[in-house]
Every structure is written in C-alpha cells, then in structure tokens.
C-alpha cells in the first residue's frame, strides 16, 4: 500500500540489525535441520532393529513424528517469531477440537 511507512527511520540501523538477526536465525535452522535428520535416522533404526517389538516401535516413531512437526512449525515456519500468536492460537484450537472428536469416536462410538 502506498501509505506504509518503513519500520525504522534510519535504514542503515535496520540493515545491521537484520543481518545479525538473520545469522542467528540461520544457526537455529541448521541446528534443527540436523536434529530432524538425526530423528529420522533414529526412526529408521527403530524400525529396522529386530530387538524391538511393534508395541515399542509404533508409539516411539509416533512420538518422533510429533517432535518433528513441532520443529517444523517453530523453526522452519517461524512460529517462534513474534506476531504468530494468532496462528498458534488457531492451530492449538484446531488440535483440541480434533482431539475431542477422536476421543469421542474412540470411546462412545466404536469401543
């Protein structure tokens, strides 16, 4: 829009600040990316290893999946940043509504 103002009066301050911020951001990205690769390998190992029964493996990789989703949302999709409170609120509300539905279906309809 034509009327928008730049966020800071001094463009140079802005650039310096942003550069620092981006470097920090990059570090997080790399750390979480490594972690995610690691978690994926762990999941494969858990499935491949003969010693674990299905009763361990299935819940375990589901847990890993949840962790990965959280990483994905917070680090790659920037939900950790300020200004994402509203999306976070709606995401969690959706999770609650979905969970209540599943809970109801599994308790009072099917079993």
């Amino acid at each position: 829009m034509a009327n928008q103002q730049p966020s800071s009066g001094n463009p140079r301050v802005d650039v310096a600040y942003r550069r620092k911020k981006s470097a920090e951001e990059m570090r997080y990205q790399i750390v979480s990316f490594t972690l995610m690769i690691f978690l994926t390998i762990v999941a494969f190992v858990a499935v491949g290893y003969e010693g674990f029964s299905g009763w361990f493996t299935v819940p375990f990789i589901l847990l890993l999946a949840v962790v990965q989703v959280i990483f994905q949302l917070y680090y790659f999709m920037h939900m950790s940043h300020k200004g994402h409170e509203a999306p976070a609120l709606f995401l969690y509300s959706g999770v609650v509504v979905g969970a209540v539905t599943i809970l109801a279906f599994t308790t009072i309809i099917w079993w």
């Binding site: 034509a2 009327n3 509300s93 609650v96 539905t101 009072i108 309809i109």
Partner: protein, 623 residues
Amino acid sequence: MSTYAQKKGFGAVLWDYLTTVDHKKIAILYLIAGGFFFILGGLEALFIRIQLAVPNNDFVSAGFYNEILTMHGTTMIFLAAMPLVFAFMNAVMPLQIGARDVAFPFLNSLGFWLFFFGGVFLNLSWFLGGAPDAGWTSYASLAMASETHGIDFYALGLQISGAGTLIGGINFLVTIVNMRAPGMTYMRMPMFTWATFVTSALILFAFPPLTVGLFLLIFDRMFGSNFFDVANGGNTIIWEHLFWIFGHPEVYILILPAFGIFSEIFAIFSRKRLFGYSSMVFATVLIGFLGFMVWAHHMFTTGLGPIANAIFAVATMAIAVPTGIKIFNWMFTMWGGSIKFTTPMLWAVAFIPSFVAGGVTGVMLASAAADYQYHDSYFVVAHFHYVIVGGVVFALFAGAHLYWPKMFGTMLNETLGKVTFWLFLIGFHLTFFIQHFLGLMGMPRRIFTFLPGQGLETGNLISSIGAIFMAIATIVLLINVIMTQVKNEKVGNDPWGDGRTLEWAIASPPPFYNFKQLPLVRGLDAYWLEKMEGKNGMTPAEPLGDIHMPNNSFIPFVISLGLFIAAFGAMYRAETSWGLLVLILGMAVTLGAMFVRSIKDDHGFHIHKEDLMDDDNDKGVKA
C-alpha cells in the same frame, strides 16, 4: 471505476454486482439472496402451519409434508439465517475496524457465489423429482432409505454452499487479525466485530466435520460406499456425531452475531458505553469454546450411556453461565441510560425475555434424564424457535433497521418498523409459546397430522394463527423497504445521532474505498470519543495517499457455476450415460477458472491522491 458514473443502465448494474469484490456490495448480495430464501422458508413454514391448523387435515400429503418440513429447516438455517448474518458482517465489520475492505476481496465474492449456487441447487430439487425429506438433520438411517434424489440435492447443495461459508469465515478472521486501523487493539474492537471474530473461528472449526459427514453421505448414496450401511459393517451413528459436532457450534454461529448486533443497539440507544465490555468479550469467547463440548446433548436418547450423557449434560448447562453474564450486562447497559425506543431498540428489548425463555428450556432439555421425555416432542420445537427466532431473527430485523442507512443511505420508516415489530412479536409468542405445552402433552415433532379428541386442537390452531401475524409483519417490512427505496431520501453519516463506532464516522453508504485516510483509534467507541471532545470526525492516522484497490472479477461466478454443473453430473452419474461427462465438464470449468485466476496477474488499480482531494466537496453522495 463504476462508482464515478452517476446513472447506469440495468445491464451495467447487473454486471457490476456479478463481478463485484467490494464488501459493501457483497453484503447487499447476501442480504437480497438471504432475504429471498427467508421468504421461501417462511412460505414453507406457512404451509406447515396450515396443514397442522386442524386435525386430520389433508392440505398436503404425508410425503410432501416431509419435504416441506425438511426444506423449511434447511433453508432457514443454511440459506436464510447464515447469509443474512453474513450480510451484516460484510457490511459492518470492515467499517468497524477501520479497514478499506476484507483481507481477500476475491474470496469474499467466491464465498457468496458458492453459497448462492449451492442454495439454488438445493431448491431445484422441488422441480426435479422431489425435495429432501429426512429432516434438516438428515440422519443417515432415514437418508439412506430415501428413494428420490432429494437427499442427493441436500448433500451436494450443502457441500457447495458450505464451502462458501468456510471461505467467508476464514476471510473475516484474517481481516480482523490483520487489518485493524492504527490504535484498534483487540480490546478496543466493537462487540459486533468480536462476535464476528468468534463466529468465524467457530465456522473454521465446525464446518469441516459437516464437510466430512456430507462427503460420506455423498459417497454412500452416489458412489457405492458403505459408511452408514449397518448390513455392510457401517455405522449410522457416525453421521449423527459428525452432524452435531457441526450442528451445535452452528447454532452459536447464528446467535453470536445476533448478540453482537444487540450489544451495539443497547449501547447506541441507551447512549451509554456497553456495560462490562471485557466480560462481554470473555463470555463470547467462552461460549465459542464451550460450544464444541456439548454436541451430544442432541443424542441423549441414542444410548451413549450414563457417563457420556452426564458429561454432556453438565457441559451444556455450563453454557448458560456466560450467556447469563451477557444478559445481565445488557440490562446494566440500559440501567440509568437515556433510552430511545427506536425500532432496533424495541427488538433488542423484546429479545431479552424471549431469548431467556429459550435458554431456560435449553437447560431443562440439558438434563439428560428429563430429555427422554422432551426429546422429539414439540417442546424441543418450542425451545429452538425461542432461541433462533427470539434471538437470531429478532437480531436480523433489528440489524436491518439499524444498518439500513449505512448500507443504502436511506432510513426505513420508523412507524412501519414499529408495526412490523409488534405484529411479529405477538405472532411469535402466539405461535411458539403454546408449543411448549403441546410438547408436554405428548405431541411428537415432525408429524404431518394429528387426531381429533386428544386435546391438541386448540393449541395447534392458536399456533397457526400466530404464524399469520408473522407473515403480515414480514409483508409490512417489505412494503417499508419498497417505500423507502422509492422515496430515496439520503441521510448523513450518523443518522441515528448516537453512533459510537467507526462505521458511523463515514458517509452512508461509504465511498467504495471506505476511508480516505485510515482513522486513528484512541479507545473503545472510537467515534463517540471524538464526538465527546467536540470534533466532528476521526483524526487521520496517515497522510492522504494513493489507495490501492482490487479489480472486479467474474471468475468467482464461473468457479461456482462449474461446481453447480458438476453436482448435477455426480447426481445422475449412476443412472444416465451423460452424468459422468457433465461431472467432468463441470469440474473442468471450475478448475479452468481457478487456473486462469492463478496465472493471470491482476494487480488492481490505484486511486490517486489528486482524485481523492477532488471529491472532498461532494462526499457522501457516491455509492
């Protein structure tokens, strides 16, 4: 741009409305389409009451009665109440937050056309072999057994219009989150905007279960699946749950905007700040949240078991608490105010006892053990008409009078407005109060006739007489609308004289860009604040600059038309040779239109600063 032309031919106006992406014009489209369906649903209601006026009546046959009854409920909820609520949300909410339009004007138009084509599709069932006849709840065990294409019309039509509603809801959410004027914090938002916000969130979470349920129904009926077929391992109860997980939030989707409209009215015409604003916000959010935890109170008698019944009974009763908070706040708003009994205020004052009566019967129904007696009797019919008519419909009438000047620039006649009010109020209580007792005396709901000598004659006759009053009231309103449009006396920014929020700070109707300069909001009731300090308008929050506007587009119409065509294909696919072809053709139209939309860059246009300065002198006369 269209608005600069003063006189236009009918064709040009029609084309303008078919392609418009302006929230104010889309609001008018919703008002007209919703009003049309409201009259249609009202006629169906009259037929129901004529049939039930005397025992053993044969005005309509049993099968046809089922169709009328089903279409009355479905039309009123999905095609009348929802779009009328959307009309006010579209017309008022962007103005209240000081925005130039909604966040996605194109999607706004798409939402309307999807709703419209879905509604038309559903009603075409009357001419194509019979309307749906399994009730507005369309329980699967009945729906699967229905032999005509009626249920297919229901499932496909609601699927299309439901997509439109979902799109509209998401659009409102993004608008409120992102497009509030400078200074408009969440806790400075007018109550109607808050109601729109929570309602939209409910739409976002409640419509997907309906979509899923409808798809299962479509697959079962048209594509040979067995989700609800018990003989093949399916389960009909799944539909009931999916429907009510949607259905209960749906009733709050209707009532929260009504609460919002009344909150505005009480404050405006008591000429006082809304009492307990923050507790009102809290109660609205809480109602929205609890609304998702209570759906099984519609299913107490399906055999959920005592534990589930108890949990849902208590959760249901809990909703009465935030509702009570709101009732008291409205009364305290009036307390000590200098009240003006205009038409909207009359509706608002009458709303309180009417709605409370509905709430009280709601709590009675929520006691699971007692509900075994009430369930599927006229007592339930009385309950939901007290809340829906006494709450939602009253609000729609009130809102129509209140916002008519903002939407059309003219005032509805107050005397005729009051005539409408009294006729409707009397008719409403005549029709529905007695139904509580009919229900307690054992009259089941959804029956097409009753026998003489069971004590049901007088009650039913009174009920039918009441319906006539409501019909006359509606006709008076229509006359009022026509008279007002013919006279066409334009009014100023703040025709009620006591407007508190931003929409009253600009012309009626506002210019197509709404605010020349975005206003600076310094508190709740932003416009009132400025007036109290002796200013005659808002302080601008930005220098005058070019305004970026979206171009009109015909694509939303085409996308919706494609789905409308595809729905016919899906329905006739199994029994005709051309069905599949039509299905593919329809989908091709829709997807093709979406493709065009995504590859064609449309950057909109700018209104230049100089043009804005030019029409400083004649502001208020442009639509």
